[in-house]
């Protein structure tokens, strides 16, 4: 009622809020809350963790010495330490397992002397000290002979401050990763966008044959974990290079040796596939389809009239390219650039497998958290990684907004004319790209079937005996498929309903804007960061949601949230195509919104719904970055198994498992294609009329 009077006093005519509106708002708030709990709160928990430090607390420790003439006055460890130069105030930060020997405070200490020592921890809850590995948890004086006193060590306690950031930026091994990550991401972006642009150009501006097949092949990298191209490169160009062996077989060993040495010993010193070069090649492989999709969309809307005008003005082909084609695609190129940049800088699979000693941010998080369980430092690196990712994301959103005005209503779709030379050129270019993509998969499959590369080349299925290796065995594969289905089902329902409410709901402007913002956020958060944030948030025993930690549930929640944005945008696009009249009509017929939703909206959007579910399934199968922190012994995953097997040196089984993921995704994709066809004929017949 209050609402109604408020509306009247504002003097505007607003529709009366019915039960429907309240129900829709309630649902929207519920989904919004889901995003807050599954994204915003974990990120907040991570931020605060990055300020949590372990430091020695000598100010709370007291000593007393007796050299045979009775106990000397009580000494505070901090004062004593500063006097001796053992410690400096403000430089007490260490890690959780830091230990400081008590004898450091007594330079003339000898374990043979008769001196006796007393030590006291004035605050038992603090880090305190321990003897022979046993902690003393009271605040009484403890007396030791010198022989025992040398076994006493100080432990760090927890406090908050900027200490972690300070130690991050004063450790070259850590902060050089920022430079490395940025360089790699920039180079990969340039290469990928150029290659993808060429490919899109061939698909849209030439009349070469097999366009459909090329487009399908170009999408293949989406179906495999990003670890797989790394593994393939090791086989192709590693120390036991398959490429070298093939060349040697073709031209003889001597002929190739010279070429190979000059390649390996390159002009800029020795190059190796382990390192930046490998990372760039593998990154290009896995980001290629993402860039291609965006650029294709931008180039598909070309206006034929511009080309006609240019040709009529006798502009040469190159001029047309620079003045018509490129400007038309510019927003697509920029957008693709930022998307690729974001993918590369946040990816962890590629540098993990083939990065060698080349440190990048995403791997640093993994090394800090999984390798050393230094969660605080992991959180610091995460915050650092969040910054470039956020910038790239914001710029991309900004550019995408500009894209809209490109296509005018009078535009005529461009139809490329056959030109034999040009078409053949484009065909061979696309052929090369396709061979590279399929080659990567072929190499992995070959490696998976070889008994003991490179010394025993007979075929065997030994590498599929996952149960005797790290990573969880065949059970992990089954878990991945389960995760895929759960994510697809729950995720699609959640995302589509959310998009429907925000798109078709009336009024409640702030609520809807807030929801849109929440729905866009997941894209800006790198997987590693999300996974780490989940540990902090959900593994806290005080959290009522602690129960889902180490279950399949947390993996589903994490994966749905991680891939929320793209799914949401797909749903919104599909819903925007629907006339709002449907809602008005059903409302005037006094139909509740869920009936319209179930009978009209959902069936009409069936293709989009299928697209979302397949997108979620495929990504759930291939994702490593977020779930690597969250799987438990019961919920090992195939993609993580690839990582763990490679980590333990079982590269061939890792390739085998990676290929299993590929076959599963390819099968699901094919089923999806058939389903879409069926759904299209059943639900989309109206489009034909």
């Amino acid at each position: 009622m209050a609402n109604l009077t408020a509306t009247e006093s504002a003097g505007r005519v607003r529709p009366k809020l019915g039960r429907d509106d309240w129900a829709m708002r309630g649902l929207m708030v519920a989904i919004g809350l889901y995003l807050i709990v599954s994204l915003a709160l974990p990120l907040y928990a991570m931020m605060s963790k990055s300020f949590e430090i372990y430091a020695y607390q000598p100010q709370l420790i007291e000593f007393q010495v007796n050299e045979g003439q009775g106990w000397r006055p009580v000494l505070n460890a901090l004062d004593l330490g500063e006097e001796l130069g053992v410690l400096k105030r403000g430089e007490l930060v260490t890690t959780a397992d830091g230990r400081l020997q008590a004898t450091r405070f007594f330079p003339d200490f000898s374990f043979l002397s008769e001196t006796r020592y007393r030590i006291r921890n004035t605050e038992p809850a603090s880090g305190g000290f321990m003897i022979r590995g046993t902690r003393i948890v009271h605040d009484e004086w403890v007396e030791y002979s010198s022989g025992d006193f040398r076994r006493v060590t100080l432990r760090p306690g927890i406090s908050t401050g900027l200490g972690n950031y300070l130690s991050y930026f004063s450790t070259p091994a850590l902060f050089t990763s920022i430079y490395n990550s940025l360089t790699i991401a920039l180079i990969s972006t340039l290469v990928t966008v150029s290659l993808a642009f060429g490919f899109a150009y061939a698909l849209t501006r030439s009349s070469m044959p097999f366009k459909g097949a090329f487009k399908a092949i170009a999408m293949v990298p989406i179906l495999v974990p990003s670890l797989l191209p790394g593994i393939a490169l090791i086989y192709l160009f590693g120390k036991q290079s398959l490429v070298l062996k093939v060349l040697q077989w073709m031209f003889g060993e001597e002929a190739v040796a010279g070429l190979w040495t000059s390649l390996i010993q390159g002009a800029y010193g020795p190059t190796e596939i382990y390192g930046p070069i490998g990372i760039v090649i593998a990154s290009v492989f896995f980001t290629f389809p993402h860039a291609l999709l965006i650029i294709l969309t931008a180039m598909a809307i070309a206006d034929a009239r511009l080309y006609e005008a240019a040709t009529a003005l006798r502009a040469p082909k190159s001029r047309i390219f620079w003045t018509v084609t490129l400007p038309g695609a510019r927003y697509g190129l920029i957008s693709a650039g930022f998307v690729v940049f974001n993918l590369v800088i946040t990816d962890f699979g590629v540098p993990k497998v083939i990065g060698g000693q080349f440190n990048v941010l995403a791997v640093d998080i993994y090394k800090q958290v999984i390798g050393q369980q230094n969660f605080q430092m992991g959180a610091v690196v995460s915050v650092v990684l969040l910054i470039p990712a956020l910038i790239a994301f914001t710029v991309d959103r900004f550019v995408q907004r500009k894209q809209v005005a490109q296509l005018s209503a009078r535009a005529v779709p461009y139809e490329p004319k056959p030109n034999r030379r040009f078409d053949n050129l484009m065909l061979s270019y696309c052929g090369l790209v396709a061979v590279f993509i399929l080659g990567v998969l072929a190499v992995c499959q070959y490696a998976a079937l070889i008994k003991f590369w490179p010394y025993n080349l007979s075929f065997s299925l030994n590498n599929y005996n996952f149960d005797v290796m790290d990573g969880g065995g065949w059970e992990a594969y089954g878990n991945s498929i389960r995760l895929g289905f759960y994510t697809a089902i729950c995720g699609t329902a959640l995302v589509f309903l959310g998009a429907y409410l925000v798109e078709k709901g009336r009024g409640f402007g702030y609520g809807r804007a807030g929801f849109q913002f929440l729905a866009m956020m997941p894209m800006a958060v790198p997987g590693m960061v999300l996974g780490l944030a989940y540990i902090f948030f959900f593994n806290d025993p005080a959290n009522p949601l602690n129960g889902i930690y180490a279950t399949m549930g947390i993996l589903v929640v994490c994966t749905v949230t991680h891939f929320y944005t793209v799914s949401h945008l797909t749903a919104v696009t599909a819903l925007k195509q629907m006339d709002p009249e449907f809602e008005s009509v059903s409302q005037s017929l006094k139909q509740p919104f869920y009936r319209t939703f179930g009978r009209v909206t959902a069936p009409v959007c069936a293709p989009a719904i299928l697209d979302i579910s397949i997108y979620l399934f495929v990504n759930a199968m291939t994702t490593v970055s977020a779930v690597v922190f969250l799987y438990s012994p019961d919920t090992t995953l195939a993609s993580v198994a690839v990582l763990n097997m490679d980590d333990a040196g079982d590269v061939a089984p890792a390739a085998a498992m990676g290929m299993m993921i590929f076959y599963t995704n390819a099968t699901v994709r094919l089923v999806h294609a058939f389903l879409t066809k069926g759904v299209l004929t059943r639900t989309q017949a109206w489009r034909g009329r």
């Binding site: 036991q240 010394y455 290796m469 025993p541 040196g649």
Partner: protein, 346 residues
């Protein structure tokens, strides 16, 4: 309503099945133990199967990773432990956990049979040993020939210029093998000499790996000619057909002990005690002996195939307390010296 015979039969069968479940249910209920371990993945099935021969009602749920990672995981879960028991983790790591008050002391049956080295000094002990796992160098003879590399015979040999870029070793921050290498060098060459040795070695290192078995597996696959790893891994790869020679450096080799301990706070103490009792039986020791040449019960071990000779004699007198006490300091120092192998070129 009259029931036909088939319906009745099905009904009776269903009742019977229900009754069966009621009777057998409690008997079949297995105790499930979460066991953290760093034992090689391929051995886990064997260990669990042998244990289940004697205790079929206790099911083992393995959580396996590299030593450093299992250690760090346990430390991170200190306030909310997920593991019931640790079976097969470096003694240095267990010492660290003892310090954090995370272990439950327990004297398993048959403790007196163990070599004094293979148990915690406290009584009752906080951990008991299984077997010793020793550092070794895996040398790929085929690749060695290709690059004209002589077979190294000592640690110092590895610092020679001829091996530049041909050596891989595990990163001690994540790998227990890596840490035992580093701590043994510091004990063999002294603090100063140890770091000087590592400085020289660092010049020859191609890359540091995350796991301790990877250098040897890479050497076995010809990805690197020389992998600093451990003897067990080398012997396994050699058995798989890799052209490997396992070198025991003449200065002596570092070693650590795989050991067992109970995590304080476990709710399944009875089952855990049964497991710990079993881990020091002769049967278990013979099981360890299939892969490891030195086990906890003295005089029991038989020679292991493909293991290099003289490995027991080469084991240094390892000071575990030194290693545990200085672990953090050594690792920090190591990271600041070597963990940025690929700094941007100037």
């Amino acid at each position: 309503m009259r029931k036909n015979p088939i319906t009745r039969l099905i009904g009776a069968a269903a009742m019977g099945a229900a009754a069966m479940t009621l009777v057998t249910g409690p008997v079949l209920a297995k105790t499930e133990l979460t066991v953290y371990t760093a034992v090689e993945a391929e051995d886990l099935k064997r260990y669990a199967a042998a244990f289940n021969e004697d205790y079929p009602d206790i099911e083992i749920k393995w959580v396996r990773d590299s030593t450093g990672i299992v250690t760090a995981k346990l430390l991170a879960e200190k306030n909310n432990p997920q593991a019931d028991v640790v079976w097969g983790l470096a003694a240095t790591s267990l010492l660290l956990m003892k310090g954090e008050g995370m272990l439950e002391p327990y004297a398993p049956n048959g403790l007196e049979n163990l070599d004094a080295k293979f148990r915690d000094s406290d009584n009752p002990p906080y951990w008991t040993g299984m077997d010793a796992w020793v550092a070794s160098v895996c040398f790929n003879t085929v690749e060695g020939k290709k690059y004209n590399l002589p077979v190294p015979s000592s640690w110092k040999d590895l610092t020679k210029a001829v091996y530049k870029g041909h050596v891989a070793m595990p990163n001690p921050n994540s790998s227990g093998t890596g840490f035992l290498d580093v701590s043994s060098w510091l004990q063999i060459f002294g603090e100063k000499g140890g770091w000087a040795f590592m400085d020289d070695l660092h010049k020859n290192i191609s890359h540091y790996t995350h796991s301790g078995s990877k250098p040897c597996k890479q050497a076995a696959a010809g990805e690197i000619p020389i992998g600093v790893s451990f003897a067990f891994r080398g012997a396994k790869s050699k058995a798989a057909g890799a052209p490997l020679e396992i070198v025991v450096p003449s200065e002596g080799i570092g070693w650590d002990m795989e050991a067992t301990a109970i995590i304080r706070g476990t709710e399944k103490l009875d089952a855990v005690k049964k497991l710990v009792d079993w881990t020091i039986t002769e049967k278990a020791n013979r099981l360890y002996n299939q892969g490891y040449a030195v086990v906890a019960i003295p005089g029991l071990a038989k020679p292991v195939k493909y293991f290099p000779a003289g490995i027991t004699e080469a084991m240094i007198d390892n000071d575990f307390e030194f290693a545990a006490r200085n672990r953090n300091r050594i690792l920090t120092e190591w990271q600041s010296r070597y963990d940025s192998k690929s700094e941007p070129k100037k």
